[in-house]
Subunit: 388 residues, 2 copies
């Protein structure tokens, strides 16, 4: 493995009843002026909004609000949030929602402490200089944003979707109660599953030598997702299934299973270009792109794919070549996506070939992407074309 | 799984060259008066002592020393360390060594900030009220103390060996360079392996319902230990093997694979009573006790043992009953201990039956032990007797 420094200071709360017991004390240690950030109002329908308000009111907290955060959160919304924090002298941002709300809140938290436009940080033209304290209450199992320091923001004017973060943007605390995901619609549960699985794949297909423990840890998460996702999708009120899926999403991207590994991340970069133009769900885009990326790159290290077949999907290796096992692994991945009802092709979102060239160019505008194999514009174009 | 709060703030550095690059900056952010704690002088023979002194001197740090920390660190040594810290106004304790040195340093760190005798905290008669900042440089892969808040101290006068800790005693930073374990003797490498494996078993055999991801994560660590330990034991200068073993030891007990699980910990409690009287190596005692604990408890949940057989040892389940698989798992565990040269019986340390009753009584003096199954004095006695 590569030399690494790992530190993840987030206090993670899991399970029912934790919000009721510990939210007030966690929040008030940072102050009593809180910006509540949320999305389209599903937390009002589920009752979570009222619960949080009640708890914070009882604790003497003054609440300000930023609502309407988009599924792919926009820079304009981030700017609004920064303004409120500055004007109202906010002590803590409390993000209540899924990855989009959390990512938006991280951008706001960094932006408040940065003199220029926070977009500079996402464009890699500046580094964060600090951040307002941030706490989260998660309502969607997907991005892992509740226990990492990164996030993705879309600049709708320039059609750019960029990831960014800083050591300052780890949430101080995150509350994950599986019951808060009961009301997540079927399609969002599917997309969330695709997203967390993609995070595992980005780790798993890496060029770093000698990482036996990391490999088995990543396999553990993939296996658990594959074994449990369908139950959560089919039975939205199944506490155990929702809990497992939520916990997998956190562990897939909190840095604990991939220390010292240089992940790939090409598929994320490619998907960001698709959804920057077409505004499709991130998880859906990933489910479409990943199998084609696998086909395109299986010869780079077929034994990695073979391990996926044997260690995750339980394929009996006897009498099969490594290449055969690699093909079986990819077929199994496709089968899983199909089984849970994920999209298979760009055509499922009515996306044709007219913007392929633009997306491929944009994906590599900072240089080649991916680490398992470096991909140039032609490679990305080929993968996108195969995904049509 | 159980509702939980997880937080592990330690900054973990892994790999060669990290000490040279980052030790000075990590240390000096806490001050410039450092107590260097170490053991019997192996760090002098290996050159690590000189390296650390050189780096800290260059950084303008004043170094005080506490050396001679015992393999089962003693309360008297802890008291010495507390005195030095108070007299010399120490800013940071830097523990350089294995688990014993680290555990001793944690006790010192808590003791400095506690008005009474720090032993109160280990006796559960008081809680820690703070701790001096602590950093570590690990030289032995075993206890996981480099990334957790616990430690074990022996009171030689009362023949008591007790574990304790607090949220304050997570190391601020830990440096794990596999090269610093090259000089660890063969027997210590074996004991270290037994120790980290025992930590995994303590997690794995738990009574908590519905923990699929935790199960696979723990299996990942056990599997990696089983697959890689022999190489490190046989080839002490094999960087990859040492790195894997070291990394397994950290991950086995930093809380990341067992969130929301109520571990068992009976074998640790039993072993502490053995080594409190006979001063045998902790890992050796665990290797002796665990297979007998497994025999004694396999009927509590045979399918857990069966999973160990299939998921870790790759046993083909077809045509075998759960009970048969459970027996195979225990046989495989015994086989592994034998293969790496671990002790098999208390007789290997010339321990007879004359203190069994005393050890059994002491083990349950705070009440029944274990969570997979609660064990009373008779149970402990039976397991000890089987271990003779």
């Amino acid at each position: 493995m590569n030399p690494f420094r790992f530190q993840n200071p987030t206090a993670l709360y899991y399970g029912k009843g934790q919000i009721e017991q510990f939210l007030a004390s966690e929040v008030t240690q940072y102050g009593r002026r809180v910006l509540l950030v949320y999305g389209g109002g599903s937390i009002k329908r589920s009752g979570l909004y009222d619960k949080v308000n009640h708890i914070l009111n009882e604790a003497g907290v003054t609440i300000f609000e930023l609502s309407g955060v988009e599924p792919n959160p926009r820079l304009t919304t981030v700017h609004k949030g920064i303004d409120i924090c500055r004007t109202e002298n906010i002590d803590l941002i409390l993000a209540v929602g899924g990855g989009s709300v959390l990512d938006c809140s991280k951008a706001i938290a960094m932006g408040v402490k940065y003199d220029g436009d926070v977009w500079d940080i996402y464009q890699r033209r500046a580094k964060a200089t600090g951040a307002l304290p941030l706490g989260t209450i998660l309502t969607l199992a997907a991005t892992g944003s509740e226990m990492n320091s990164g996030g993705v923001i879309t600049n709708w004017e320039t059609k750019e979707k960029l990831g960014g973060g800083s050591p300052y943007t780890f949430p101080k605390f995150s509350f994950c109660d599986p019951e808060n995901t009961y009301s997540v619609p079927r399609d969002q549960t599917i997309y969330g599953t695709c997203d967390m699985l993609a995070h595992c794949f980005e780790h798993y297909f890496h060029p770093t030598r000698h990482t036996p423990l990391q490999q088995h840890l990543i396999e553990a998460v993939i296996k658990t997702i594959v074994e449990n996702a369908k139950a959560a999708i089919d039975n939205p009120n199944d506490y155990d299934a929702r809990e497992t899926l939520m916990y997998c999403s956190t562990m897939a991207l909190n840095g604990m299973i991939n220390m010292g590994i240089q992940g790939d991340w090409a598929c994320h970069a490619i998907e960001h270009e698709i959804s920057a133009i077409y505004d499709i769900p991130h998880g859906g885009g990933l489910a479409i792109v990943f199998p084609h990326w696998m086909d395109y790159n299986k010869n780079v290290n077929p034994s990695r794919f073979a391990s996926l077949a044997t260690n995750v999907f339980g394929v009996d290796a006897s009498g099969k070549s490594t290449d055969e096992l690699a093909d079986i692994a990819i077929a199994k991945v496709r089968e899983f996506y199909k089984e849970i009802g994920a999209p298979q092709r760009l055509a499922d979102y009515d996306i044709g070939d007219d913007q392929l060239d633009r997306m491929a160019s944009q994906a590599v505008r900072f240089g080649e992407i991916g680490n398992f194999k470096k991909l140039n514009k032609d490679d990305v174009y080929a993968i996108l074309k195969a995904s049509l």
